[in-house]
Point group: D2
């Protein structure tokens, strides 16, 4: 009997990467699972260490640290950013805090992973993207957390498109349908307040599908025409100890519909809503090209539907690819064919890809610049909705970034 040797005897164990996470709600739990799992599944050049977690409520953040396996807890994100054992800051806080934390972390020499949408405004996102550009020159990496790029079926879809299996694209149909606001008694949480969330279904769900449409096609949206709606305008305030429970005003959209064109002229339609009764997490897309089509539904995330139009018509049809084969993206490290992966491993894959980018000095995908570009689309959607749905271009030039202070040298990756 002897203690476990942590790696091949020759090479020694990989160096560690200290992770510090801000936020510990749903996203915090999911990211924790990703950080904890990545090195158990993939051969990684750096081993992530769950160093510290930050949250404002002392009791809650300690409970979260214990539950999710973080070594330390902080009640101030600034303290977390300042920790020597943290080389990467993972931002799972509400959107109104993204810019401040991300810029501070980058300037403190940390790598950053920031949940989507990147920010609540284009101006914030520009600031963040500029900070990421500067940090990049110092070897730091900044990634936007569009985790659904890391669903194996989605990654496989991108591969098929990149290989030309669809030919020139004509139609992209994206929707993200949830129903948790159908009940008018659902409370007025921060996600329903513009000052915290920036927007409603648009930023929360729409950001994902805008990113995916552009990621999968390799093209940008040139402009949009949009409608938004808030069906339930007053909701009960979140529960507290007072007997009388008041109502407050929802200041974000319940749903957003928008159409646009990609640079190539392909038509793209989008719908983001939290009022699609019976749909729980239905991020769906269908893409039609000259030579084939793809369809996907996140509620069946291990499947991709593919139609190869170059087959004879009599034997052609949408095939259900169970995306669990060794040759599928990320899958060689997982279970045998047919054994489904769960939602949370989008974060496991995200952790793996981010660690690879950090270790190899490659640009992260999606970058903060990608996150900024999505933010510009969201802003164009809101502008179009205000202007009677008129087609509203998405700016392709970066606005002048807000100047920020020069940052210290990056923290070296701990050996």
């Amino acid at each position: 009997m002897d203690r476990t040797e942590q790696s091949d005897s020759d090479t020694g164990p990989p160096p560690t990467l200290g992770v510090g996470m801000v936020g510990h709600a749903f996203m915090g739990a999911a990211h924790s699972q990703g950080w904890r799992t990545a090195a158990r599944v993939f051969d990684l050049p750096l081993r992530p260490v769950l160093a510290a977690i930050a949250g404002r409520d002392r009791t809650a953040v300690h409970a979260a640290a214990a539950r999710h396996g973080w070594a330390a807890a902080e009640t101030d994100w600034r303290a977390l950013v300042a920790r020597d054992d943290v080389q990467l800051v993972d931002i799972c806080a509400p959107g109104d805090l993204h810019a401040e934390i991300a810029v501070a972390a980058l300037e403190a020499g940390k790598h950053v992973l920031c949940e989507k949408p990147l920010a609540n405004t284009v101006a914030e996102a520009e600031t963040m993207s500029a900070a990421a550009d500067r940090a990049r020159t110092r070897g730091q990496v900044a990634m936007t957390g569009f985790n659904y790029r890391r669903v194996p079926a989605v990654a496989h879809a991108r591969r098929l498109i990149a290989e030309g299996r669809l030919g020139a694209l004509r139609h992209l149909r994206f929707s993200y349908l949830q129903d948790w606001l159908v009940d008018p008694a659902a409370p007025l949480t921060w996600r329903l307040l513009r000052e915290h969330a920036g927007s409603g279904a648009l930023g929360d769900l729409g950001a994902h599908i805008v990113d995916l449409a552009q990621h999968l096609s390799g093209e940008l949206l040139t402009g949009v025409s949009a409608l938004t709606e808030t069906f339930v305008r007053e909701r009960p305030l979140p529960h507290d100890s007072t007997a009388a429970r008041g109502y407050g005003t929802v200041t974000v959209d319940d749903a957003a519909l928008f159409n646009g064109r990609l640079a190539s002229g392909a038509l793209a339609s989008f719908e983001a809503t939290r009022m699609a009764t019976g749909r729980k997490n239905a991020l769906r897309f269908e893409i039609n090209g000259e030579h084939g089509s793809l369809a996907f539904d996140l509620e069946r995330l291990n499947e991709l539907s593919f139609h190869d139009h170059t087959e004879p018509a009599a034997s052609a049809g949408f095939r259900r690819i169970l995306v669990t084969e060794p040759d599928h993206p990320y899958l060689r490290a997982w279970w045998p064919p047919g054994h489904a992966l769960g939602y949370e491993h989008t974060f496991t894959h995200q952790a793996r890809d981010l660690i690879e980018a950090i270790a190899h000095g490659t640009p992260p995908e999606p970058s903060f610049a990608d996150g900024l570009q999505v933010q510009r689309v969201l802003a164009a959607v809101e502008e179009s909705a205000r202007k009677n749905a008129v087609h509203t271009p998405v700016p392709t030039q970066s606005a002048q970034p807000v100047p920020v202070q020069p940052a210290p040298a990056p923290a070296p990756v701990q050996p």
Copy 2:
């Protein structure tokens, strides 16, 4: 042995209704099947007789009459309209002929069934609707051929909505996806020329989904914001004997996307396209309401998907109703449960409902006025597409109809 007695001895056989059909292509074949079948399945107050068919090509129209079982053939639709043995004129000709034939038939005292879209322009549709209004006072019936209202699953959907099973509607998503124009070598038929077809996918497919959205919700669209596109702008001229085959210009849309609002504030999205690779006849809808949702796909026309949101969440889900039960619309007359109906019986059901309306003097659904209203939506779509997608209202007031000559008294239904 004795000859068949055609009915119950007491009542005698039902009187006949002489049908004259203009056109004998795809729609002509389908309508023929409907007229031939209706009295074999349903107890009808009038027995349709396939009296005469009209088409310009003498050889072709005679062949069609023989194939489909029409007693006579005409090479001029005016001769068909003038026949004494024709009490109902069924218009399956291209859209640019609808108005002239329909008005002539109505003024000749005939009942009229006109394929959709009702006309190529709002002005034509207004003329037709006005003629129908006048004919109505004489006891004549004029119906627009939105046959998909007569899919049993669609009729059942309407029943569920009317019963309040969905509550207030929030979202309507309608698309009609085909792919027969994906091949750039598909020829430039009349359906691709504005002067004959009025519009492209918009009028051919979009008209159906606009009608269904309004029919199912019981509400009208108040306005739309639209994009249209023609992906393949030059196509080979249809085949003829000349060796050199030229190209011509497509003058209609390949695809149309539009969003709008119903009177109640529900959001509605529409897509009509003939470029959705791999989709053959995918008229799909999903409707979300406060209390439930419905989904449908014409490629599986015997099924309706229904989510009842009043069930406990743990046992709720979209259920696949096989719409073949005796209690489903039209089904009591058909096969036992589980035995699928085909596409063509939308026309069988349309024939049945039209005959009932004629016999009982009830207003037909959908009327020419309904067809006109859809035409206004299509015109608003085209206007919005020309105006950078800006929201374009759908007029709710009828424009002044073009005056027409008074008509003779209606032909009595032949005993």
Copy 3:
């Protein structure tokens, strides 16, 4: 204006084939629709004429004749068989009448179509098959009505197997699931009495799947091991005017399960039941071969699912072929792609194929010999069920047929 010319001027109209049908319940209605439709869709060498229909109840048979468009009605099937205007006898009566009618019709020189199962016993089926063999030498045709061979998706499945797309077969899984006996109050009709129906789900549903398994594989079952069950053993007698309604004993199976091997060694499983709650007409199969697989469900009869195992694993999967393309069996004569056919057109296709066999003197498929072989499988199933499920061979040699009288010369097909 002129009367319809019924065909090309050169060739004249095709000669007619007078059809006489025995029975007018569900199968009678469905067959009528097939006979009425076949010549409207296909170019046929003989035009079927609905000459006469037979049934015991005078009022009912006349009503059926009027409803379904038969020119005459008979209350004795012998009179129908004797009619000069009947060249083909279509037997839709209960199973206990099949042998007598079929033999009489064949001996009267008529062609015969007999509903499945061919008979209630092997002995009857042998007599029928022998009569068919004799009639065959006189140019008569006798077909067993396994109509599901004529579902286009099933015919396409056979084509794919014949082309070697599946390679050697390993597994065949067939089930036919209905639920109309779940309700213990469902009445004791003739279908639940052995003396009339021969067996229960086994003969009614099991006969279809045994035929299809053998037809699709091109191989015969060598033996079976079976369980059968009658879950509800007493049922109310069918409704009549007496106030007190008694109960009677169900003498057939509600369900039959059996496994077997094909000649090649492939394993085959079968289940026929009328107690599969929620399944209305679910004739399903899946066939696995070395190189691919097929799956089908009659509740979605326009679809065939095909997995091509020679594709790279990363892009392979079961594809849903919408069997509505011109290159699919029977489809060139029908609607454009994506427009579904209904259940009844299995009978339209059966009529077409039978007429082709009669006109061209080709052996019909499935023959009475095929029907007899299925009967032997059903008998082996019942024997195995009685013998504790022990593997029971299916005889491959015909038993000695019961001798019958020589028959008169066949009636010539009427010009």
Copy 4:
């Protein structure tokens, strides 16, 4: 800043449970993920510690320990069983080692989790079950690893059946279809050798579906009638360094089909195969009862299909329940509705349930006795297959267990 407090201040952290695992192939990786995750998701009375892992190959077992996070590695399972820091032995070794390890561990006072099938023979399983019975009196727990009971959709199915939503059961159809042996070049691993694996698809896949059928119905199989087959009888020996690669004989089944009856008279059919081309992990069932039906497919493990036959026929149908609601089994601890769980969490849930049983002294489900009973069914299947499929009863009385030595007192759960 302060170190993480591991739990509520009042109660202190839960005591630990040292886990020692034997085996580190596929099952070892999956179990590791379960042990690692359980305490991160659920509130557990004992915190599992990944104490040690055992495997014969020194390099491989150390690599596995490092990869999967086990604190120590052993090359002899006896050493692992003897460790003081191990209170629970998790047996993921091939079937021929199960009995020896399990009995030794139980006699050493350890709790045991043993992968399915419990053993390679009934005799071994009896010995194990007897050992478990003795250990039970000392407070030890022994569980058989039928992990699919812990798929939330399966657990919800059991709940619906227990609530009477299906009424009396009539039909159970279970199949487990894989295709990894379709390729005749797949090598002759230990799973294809009777001396190591006991049986082929029967024990590997069939054991799962026998357990689930009995678990879901709450009834035992009374007997079976079976066919088994080995389609590819010679396979290449597993790769090694020698250039010439020989062939060896497959000594287990590729496929097993069997039918049987439950105690209540319900019919049950089973198929286990590794030759179902295109099916990767298709554990499927459908259960029909008087009042409703359930259907499931492990390839879509987050879904359960439910038909409620007490609904009016016009609105009834199989509904797709997305089993991700808080009120579904295990789900309250997981993600929001619609966020899919993966295959591996069957092991997370198994870990949780086993820990609960250990902490509360409740009998584990499934017990070793349950595993033994499944083994008897498998033996009856093999006997029936040898005896021409004749119905073979499943013994309900335990045979006399092989006597074993008395064991020492159990190790107390480490605080």
